[in-house]
């Protein structure tokens, strides 16, 4: 049973890392700021979610697991807000930047 849990953790964390990789490639390759923003926020939220999901069975206690989930939620809140702020600043500056 514990091997199955470990395999689940490894698979979930690797999938999360793949999303981070995709987000980074998008950041480097996409043509303009808005698409780069899209790549980063979507991929990072999912990537971190999968990493947290993989770490959950490894948590020492219920409280530790809840802290991991709280970290994920807080990062989502922060990155969603920052994405909105950057997009707002871009729109104010006008197209073509």
């Amino acid at each position: 049973m514990s091997i199955a849990i470990d395999i689940f953790s490894v698979v979930a964390i690797c999938a999360g890392a793949a999303f981070f990789m995709a987000g980074s490639v998008g950041l480097l390759r996409f043509p303009d700021s808005l698409t780069r923003l899209h790549a980063l926020t979507k991929a990072d939220n999912l990537g971190l979610g999968l990493v947290v999901l993989g770490l959950l069975p490894q948590a020492d206690s219920l409280l530790g697991g809840l802290k991991l989930v709280a970290v994920w939620l807080l990062v989502q809140l922060a990155s969603a807000t920052v994405a909105q702020l950057i997009a707002h600043a871009l729109r104010r500056r006008g197209p073509g930047t």
Binding site: A70, L74, A80, T81, Q84, L85, H88
Partner: protein
């Protein structure tokens, strides 16, 4: 070579690379972004060195609060950047600067390489006397008991720094509202975050101060989180920044150093030395001091970030 060692080495290389990028980037804003990334990477390094207390402080102060301070400075200096770039120093002064940097680097490298291995340490001594403080976290014991004088002076420095920032104000602005005037009344995404985050942040900050006695955490880390919550609320225009003449603000600024000093002086009478704690009361006294220190840190950091005060036009004349 194990996987962990490979990861550590790549982390170290990454830190150096980001540091070089930060130094060579010509634009102040880009350099600040590099500095923030550098701070976050360095806090990962502290985690790898099992210094979680330092990692928390580095992430909260070195990267977070200092990052906000430097970003607002970079934005304010943006107009002057072209003029600064035009004044590019000549070859002689650049050579001199390079030579000086090399000498300092070589001296630092020599000192590090000549250190005895294992280095001289007081760690076993501190660990042996940890029980006397009734604390579980050796870092807090060193900060608040064994080296309490350093921590006290550190708090006084923070207080002096806030006064230094205020003293940059023009005479007419003295006693005004902390920070530069704001043109717009902005709401939206930031206001949403400023409404949602502080309840969570305040709970986390209090938790971090409280567990600091036994686990990584403490007044500085918790105070920095409280400061960040206050700054978000001010930046989102949900609340006005405080007037620097306000009595409550000034009381909060001096509370930490004052309580620390008072307990330290009481140590003469009760325990026979400055900053000595009477046996059996060490932990409650330390927690008591930390509560006031947290308040002072939470108030003085935003004062540093906001900058010198201004007086709005409709401000009542005093």
């Amino acid at each position: 070579m194990s996987v962990i060692l490979a990861l550590d080495i790549s982390l170290a290389v990454l830190v150096l690379a980001v540091a070089v990028w930060t130094i060579v980037s010509r634009e102040a804003f880009a350099a600040v972004v590099g500095y923030v990334a550098y701070g976050l990477l360095v806090s990962l390094v502290w985690v790898r060195l099992f210094a979680v207390d330092v990692a928390l402080t580095e992430a909260a102060i070195g990267s977070g609060v200092t990052g906000v301070l430097l970003i607002s400075a970079a934005v304010r200096l943006r107009g002057t950047e072209a003029a600064v770039a035009a004044e590019w120093p000549g070859a002689a002064s650049r050579l001199l600067a390079a030579a000086l940097c090399i000498v300092v680097t070589a001296a630092l490298a020599a000192v590090v390489l000549m250190m005895p291995d294992p280095g001289a340490t007081l760690a076993p001594e501190a660990a042996r006397h940890l029980a006397a403080t009734e604390l579980g976290n050796p870092v807090t014991a060193v900060l608040m008991a064994f080296r309490a004088l350093d921590t006290l002076l550190e708090k006084v420095v923070l207080f002096l720094a806030a006064i230094g920032v205020w003293s940059l104000a023009a005479d007419a602005n003295w006693g005004g509202i902390a920070g530069p005037p704001h043109a717009t009344h902005r709401r939206g995404a930031l206001a949403f975050l400023a409404q949602l985050l502080p309840p969570v942040g305040i709970v986390v900050a209090i938790h971090i101060v409280w567990v600091g006695a036994n686990e990584p955490g403490g007044a500085f880390q918790g105070g920095a989180i409280l400061a960040a919550m206050w700054l978000i609320v001010i930046m989102a225009r949900l609340a006005e920044a405080p007037a620097i003449g306000g009595r409550r603000l000034r009381l909060a600024l001096v509370a930490g150093p004052a309580v620390f000093l008072a307990v330290g002086l009481a140590g003469f009478a009760v325990a026979g030395a400055f900053l000595a704690y009477p046996a059996g009361l060490a932990k409650p006294l330390i927690v008591f001091i930390e509560v006031f220190m947290t308040l002072s840190i939470a108030v003085s950091l935003p004062m540093l970030v906001l900058g010198p005060p201004h007086r709005p036009r409709d401000w009542p004349s005093s």
